[in-house]
Homo-oligomer: 342 residues x 2
């Protein structure tokens, strides 16, 4: 890559070389997930779609990439004391699994009302790992950040946030890097959008490979904070959105992810919960894949006609498949009424 091309990334928190570094760390550790295609999806949308299946990633979501890339760069002292993370979702399991693989303790701070399955999965990854535990807090009475700071100080642990960290962002970008390296140049790349970790990493990876590619972020309709932020030119904070896309219930972009999105993302579109459910059904019925609501965001934008490719080659990141079976069954098997977030 020559100098004029690199200026596209000047001043951003991550550079194309950071994605390459992350890819080297993840080689043989993360799955190189498959890319699926569907003639029916192509006929329906008018594009040539390539689905990068991160639901088949270790622990069921792309989050493993970023967590492992961050933890793998800890120095000796950090490794000894371990990692701390707040999360009731995929970042919890990703951090616990990455810590286990790297032989370090992990403390995951989760709300007392976290789904039992997620608690169990996180503890399963921590099993047998010294100094590892789940710390529960009451989300209505306690301040999780205060709990985290106290634990970090007392135990000397390093906090890894779910998205606003350069190593996390670079790790997530390897998903888009693998996709384009496998299928060749794309005209358009759609990425699920919560706090922007996946989108910012993927935007850097994609623009480095295909300068000018149209990178599109997809948010839930109920939580379009980044759409608003890009329009306003500053980070807009919203109330916790009510949406079935629980991985995208973020209130604001990150300080590091936002400038990357401002520079490298063409636009952000939104989809409704009903469109997410319709897309989850398409995945189950036609592509035989279990996709969680958040994981269906990017695909929904194309399959539901929000974005209309005209013969273009479109990459779609399917970000994860972690959804409790009773809830999943109710969403794909139920009537339209089940699509409403509660």
């Amino acid at each position: 890559m020559n100098a004029p091309e690199l200026t596209a990334f000047a001043g951003l928190a991550i550079q194309p070389a950071d994605i390459d570094g992350a890819a080297a760390r993840l080689a043989g550790v993360a799955h190189r997930t498959p890319v699926h295609t569907s003639r029916q999806a192509d006929e329906r949308t008018g594009g040539k779609l390539f689905f990068k299946c991160e639901n088949f990633q270790r622990m069921g979501a792309f989050k493993f990439r970023g967590a492992y890339n961050a933890l793998a760069q800890f120095d000796a002292r950090q490794r000894e004391h371990g990692v701390i993370a707040f999360s009731s979702g995929n970042h919890a399991q990703a951090t616990a699994l990455a810590a286990r693989l790297l032989g370090m303790p992990s403390v995951i701070v989760m709300p007392t009302d976290s789904p039992a399955a997620k608690l169990a999965a996180t503890r399963e990854y921590q099993r047998g790992q010294r100094g590892s535990e789940v710390v529960l807090y009451d989300r209505y009475k306690e301040d999780r950040e205060a709990i985290g700071r106290r634990l970090a100080e007392e135990r000397g642990m390093t906090l890894i946030p779910p998205y606003d960290h350069p190593h996390v962002m670079a790790g997530q970008g390897t998903a888009a890097a693998e996709l384009i390296d496998e299928v060749g140049p794309l005209d358009m790349l759609l990425v699920c959008l919560g706090g922007g970790g996946l989108l910012s990493g993927c935007a850097v990876a994609a623009q480095a490979r295909v300068p000018g590619i149209e990178v599109i972020g997809v948010e839930p309709e109920a939580g379009n904070d980044i759409q608003q932020s890009l329009a306003a030119g500053r980070i807009v904070k919203i109330d916790t959105p009510r949406t079935i896309a629980d991985g995208a219930q973020t209130q604001a972009a990150g300080l590091l992810t936002f400038p990357v999105m401002q520079r490298l993302v063409r636009r952000v579109v939104t989809v409704s919960d009903a469109q997410l459910v319709s897309t989850m059904r398409f995945f189950a019925e036609r592509m035989k894949m279990v996709v969680e609501p958040t994981g269906a965001l990017a695909a929904a934008a194309v399959l539901e006609g929000v974005v209309q490719p005209r013969g273009q080659r479109v990459g779609i990141i399917v970000s994860g498949g972690n959804v409790a079976l009773p809830r999943y069954a109710s969403l794909i098997g139920g009537g339209a009424g089940d699509a409403t977030a509660t």
Copy 2:
């Protein structure tokens, strides 16, 4: 391959070279489906499991392989008049799709009470194809074979049965061939078993690649006709079994498939409907895949402990993913009571 090795297949309806021929015909037409692995499945079973995912095959099941391999060998007159098939299941869709791709008419004879989704899918594959139609019959009043014979005579069409045909058997065998060619030698291969088309083809492909490999067929508990037949040394016919594995509700082995199984299959085991449901849940929850009840047969035998690998390398054919969403949702989301066939 030298002469002594080939004697293993002497007198059987298909030979290793027939699988190679089928593979050549299917190249670039059928998907080379991915092989998935699962650390959780390995930990639970004590084996190293390789899942060949035919649920990601075109039209959602391995049946496409056999149907296409058969239709692709039609002569000019046969192509002109087209193909006829009886099926309420995956063979219907496989035949309709293969006929369309080869530009020939297809008539599919289905019972009037076939699931609407399967009727619609079959008609979708026939759309725009001259002379193609679904012919409905009343399964309680009419003889489908008489209907088929009459149509075949009137229209000069060629009947392709769902399993008891050498070209169908050879086509199905390419699934095992691809699996072993990709992951290397296996100690054991488990295959879903209805009429024996998939099992006989896969047994030939596997024994040609790994002489002496332990090939195991897996039937539903309620319909173990082939287990009985192998014990009796002759084809035993049973009543249509009541099982959720609708693709394995066959009454008897084929005249061509049975001798192959007698020679090349070590044993046949059975699993219950409850074990199939438990396995479908494992696939959804842990491996993020939609698998139909019949498609879970082989995996259930290992995951439910009927067959216990001890550090062995085990191939498992996941045969399909075609199941109506409401039924699927009820099976994976429901209580144990939902597992009972009705």
